[in-house]
């Protein structure tokens, strides 16, 4: 064979071609977008691995304290563009792919979102990993390697249909399997009571089934590429020994069936970020994650020279993302006591000093409870430990408040209901040295409304860490037009120091800057317009005001309030000849949990209303409503930069923080919102005159609830515009040929008590929408406000959030090269 004397291409082209040939066994020639995606991702992964190994060396040399972020969800989205951005290789890759006959945009679009999460807390976890690496902090994620992520949403005749999300259908080039670091996870079994040689009680945990957790590492590349951490996801496999047991019984089919049954633990993400009832599989998933994560971190700790468990809290910080991983407390206790033979008090001190807990919501359904009977079946040893934890805790409570039996009952980790339940939030609070909410008002509510007894007992534990979002994904990458404008206007570097955006304030009255800013927004809207046409076949006008409500569909987020207002605008237009202040396009997106009837009805309602409005020539040019299916991170990256009005209209006192509000404001949208969650801090930062707040406050709603003074029927009776809207939903106007399809709207809001105070805020919402519409008619003032929103959202970078966690909770130091 003649030798090829051509020097190998430098840079990225050569390794991309090598991966295509030797990794994918593809012949030389044109590569499809998907093939280029895999080959490019593998190439970038090589670089990430170099970074990973170098970073680990630095951490080992410094004997760095490490943070382990435990979360059942990591809503990662696509990785290639983010990784290229963080390595500074976006431009080079674009060029190289073009030279290879490909197109970067097509390659990026070929990547399937890794949707290993439902919404806010899952995406927060992903933003946090980005910030940890970008700040050179030794922080890592532990999660579940779900085979199927959050379901794919299809819309059929206006109704949501869920389809499985096989995110790894074409493989996942990013992950590195680590079979040598598998973890054994015992489940079920029973306790045999014995005594040891010294006559002490010795419970034996026997009769368990063993699962194996296989780790898969995803590199997390920090901005600038200096530091690469990892996210370790565990996949469940039955142990070979488990297989043999069944095999030996001579029934192959049963063996396979049982093997599949045991491996279902990491099969699918639970499609709801609230857990109700005693769903055994979910508890198994939670324990599986925790057992693998704690085993892994203990192993890593013990590999250190002269590892002494007394030092564990100095070297390990564990953050529990909501209550879902709170079993980590019991698992760590079990390992320290049962395997490492530490006395209870020492073990407890270690656990408490290592663990921090983040609470994410105020919704009662999110306060996780598990039936004690289920614990007994699945985790008998952990239940023993839980009882002991509770016993000692209640002794402390009794000492603090002698004779206060009600308090004991309120605070106990075990709820003495029928059936008895374990309150996981209580466990997490008892076992953690830090308990934080995710926005200032939320953290106050945690202290005063959610768990006031605990705050009274341990005020020092409670603190606030306002959420944030990574400006790399959500501004630099998602909004390249604005990013380029910012670079030009204030210089680079803002993506790593978002506070620099404040420099924009000096440009708010610069007409050419405002024009350029407006042009960027227009370009983003055109991009979204094309996407809407492609996915829904609906034409929208990018010249209209883009009013965006994108989040999970849930009654507390009040998509229904938005819908009522749109219906009002439409009816006023048709019947009163009253034009809206400004032509508008309402953009909705979001998924409803599969079992959540009311949320699914809202999706149907939006589609029905949208269809009626679209077909009515009177509305043409004034109102358009569109629902974009299958909301996910990559879709959010197109919608958010195009948003002009950001709907953050949850009932005050229900939204812990929100992060969509931050992303939209960071991209120049003005918020229409209630004084809830992080909206209050947004107002503080951007200025009350630069957003549109409305509605009852949390205190006002609390007072109405407390004194039973809320009478939605009266509001209905006294507001003719509202009455018209609700009466119309009762008829066929929005459901031709199907009268009664939407009679639940009036029923739920008027007759059934309107638990989310939709009617109470309707008039104020109408008024603020009117004001926002009129404001849009004054472009100079509008763009001024939009620029100030961008300029003043530096605080909402997740870098700031992580710095606070690192300093105030974890005691973590940056280990830069």
């Amino acid at each position: 064979m003649a030798q090829d004397k051509t020097p190998p291409p430098r840079g990225l082209a050569f390794p991309i071609l090598q991966h295509a040939r030797y990794g994918l066994a593809l012949p030389r020639g044109a590569l499809t977008a998907r093939e280029l995606l895999t080959a490019t991702a593998l190439t970038i992964r090589d670089r990430a691995v170099e970074g990973l190994l170098d970073t680990e060396e630095r951490y080992l040399e410094a004997d760095a304290k490490r943070l382990y972020y435990l979360s059942m969800e990591f809503l990662l989205g696509r990785s290639l563009e983010n990784n290229l951005q963080n390595l500074g290789l976006l431009a080079e890759t674009r060029q190289v792919l073009a030279e290879l006959g490909g197109d970067l945009e097509a390659v990026l679009a070929a990547e399937h979102d890794a949707a290993l999460g439902n919404g806010g807390p899952g995406r927060l976890a992903a933003c946090f990993l980005d910030s940890l690496a970008s700040l050179d902090l030794p922080g890592f994620g532990y999660g579940v390697h779900y085979e199927y992520g959050l379901f794919r949403q299809e819309i059929e005749h206006g109704r949501q249909r869920e389809q499985p999300d096989n995110w790894r259908a074409y493989g996942s080039p990013w992950e590195i399997e680590r079979p040598a670091e598998t973890c054994l996870v015992p489940l079920y079994g029973y306790i045999e009571h014995t005594v040891d040689a010294e006559g002490r009680y010795n419970p034996l945990w026997l009769g368990w089934k063993v699962l194996v957790g296989i780790p898969y590492d995803l590199p997390v590349i920090g901005y600038g590429g200096r530091t690469v951490n990892w996210l370790r996801l565990f996949a469940a496999r039955s142990s070979q020994e488990f297989d043999m047991e069944i095999w030996n019984e001579g029934d192959y089919l049963r063996a396979v069936a049982q093997k599949l049954e045991s491996e279902k633990i990491s099969k699918v993400l639970y499609p709801a970020d609230t857990v109700a009832g005693s769903r055994e599989l979910r508890l198994l998933q939670e324990y599986f994650l925790v057992a693998c994560a704690v085993r892994d971190m203990v192993r890593r700790f013990e590999r250190r020279k002269a590892a002494d468990f007394a030092d564990f809290p100095q070297k390990v910080a564990i953050q529990l993302n909501d209550t879902h991983p709170s079993l980590a407390v019991l698992e760590l206790m079990r390992i320290l006591i049962d395997e490492k033979r530490l006395p209870w008090e020492d073990a407890w001190q270690i656990v408490a000093a290592s663990c921090g807990y983040t609470h994410h919501t105020l919704m009662s359904e999110a306060l996780e409870r598990w039936p004690v009977a289920l614990f007994e079946t699945i985790l008998p040893r952990h239940l023993q430990i839980l009882y002991e934890v509770n016993h000692r805790f209640l002794a402390e409570v009794a000492a603090h408040w002698p004779g206060d039996v009600d308090r004991l009952r309120r605070m106990s980790i075990i709820e003495e209901s029928d059936p008895r339940q374990a309150r996981m939030a209580h466990l997490a609070i008892v076992a953690s040295h830090s308990v934080n909410g995710v926005a200032a008002t939320h953290s106050e509510q945690v202290k005063t409304a959610l768990v006031p007894d605990f705050h009274e007992l341990w005020p020092e534990k409670f603190n606030n860490k306002t959420n944030g979002v990574t400006p790399r994904r959500w501004l630099l990458t998602a909004n390249p037009g604005l990013a380029a404008l910012l670079d030009e206007a204030i210089g680079p570097g803002w993506a790593a120091d978002l506070g620099r955006l404040r420099k924009l304030e000096s440009l708010v009255d610069d007409t050419s800057f405002r024009a350029a800013f407006a042009a960027v927004k227009r370009g983003n809207k055109e991009r979204l317009t094309r996407l809407i046409a492609e996915t829904t076949r609906v034409e929208v006008d990018p010249g209209t005001l883009f009013d965006v409500q994108v989040s999970r569909i849930h009654e507390y987020k009040r998509q229904l309030l938005n819908v009522l207002h749109i219906a009002h605008q439409y009816l006023a237009l048709c019947e009163d000849g009253e034009l809206p202040p400004v032509p508008k396009t309402y953009v909705f997106a979001g998924k409803a949990a599969p079992g959540y009837w009311a949320a699914k009805q809202v999706i149907l309602l939006i589609h029905s209303l949208a269809g009626v409005i679209r077909r009515d020539p009177r509305a043409r040019g004034w109102l358009r409503v569109v629902f974009i299916p299958d909301y996910r991170v990559s879709l959010a990256e197109v919608i958010i930069p195009a948003g002009e009005l950001s709907e953050q209209i949850a009932t005050a006192g229900t939204e812990a923080s929100g992060t969509g509000n931050m992303k939209l404001a960071m991209n120049g949208a003005l918020t229409v919102g209630t004084l809830d969650g992080a909206n209050a801090e947004l107002r503080q930062e951007v200025g009350a005159e630069n957003l549109f707040l409305f509605g009852l406050t949390g205190e006002e709603i609390g007072a109405l609830r407390a004194n039973g003074g809320y009478r939605p029927a009266e509001i209905y009776a006294n507001d003719p515009a509202l009455r018209r809207v609700l009466d119309t939903f009762d008829g066929e106007r929005f459901s031709p040929g199907d009268r009664g399809r939407f009679d639940w709207v009036r029923r739920s809001l008027v007759s059934d008590g309107d638990p989310y105070f939709v009617l109470a805020d309707f008039a104020a919402y109408r008024a603020v929408q009117e004001r926002a519409g009129r404001a849009y008619l004054e472009p100079a003032a509008w763009w001024r406000a939009a620029i100030l929103n961008v300029a003043r959202t530096g605080r909402f970078s997740s870098d700031r959030t992580i710095r606070e966690y690192a300093e105030e909770i974890w005691g973590l130091q940056s280990i830069a090269p």
Partner: protein, 113 residues
């Protein structure tokens, strides 16, 4: 199950020649040791050197033997690999079962005792 029995200094050493002590072989181990205990052999060492994995039935067989020699007999394990020791710790069996690096040390210890 492939097990050799040998008696040294009054101690019965049961040498396992299997990689797995699981549902396949544990019942056999249990019954063979049980017979010897019934015949009066009360000092027993289980040489686990080749064993790479013990499942819950294997552990139950060991526990059954331990109960069988009680109250005046002794059972010790020898040659346990790290993964087996991990399982013993996980179940807390290590607190009621002695284990030694080799069968010789185990024999010496319980023979003296």
């Amino acid at each position: 199950m492939n097990i050799d029995f040998d008696i040294t200094r009054g101690v019965t050493v049961a040498k396992l020649h299997e990689r797995r002590l699981d549902a396949a072989g544990a019942p056999d181990l249990k019954s063979r040791i049980g017979r010897r205990i019934a015949e009066g052999e009360r000092l027993i060492v289980l040489d686990m050197t080749p064993v790479e994995f013990v499942d819950s039935t294997g552990l139950s067989a060991i526990l059954s033997a331990l109960k069988g020699v009680a109250p005046d007999g002794k059972l010790a394990l020898a040659g346990c690999r790290p993964v087996v020791l991990e399982l013993l710790k996980l179940t807390r069996l290590d607190r009621i079962l002695q284990h030694f690096p080799t069968a010789e040390e185990a024999t010496q210890s319980i023979a003296i005792a």
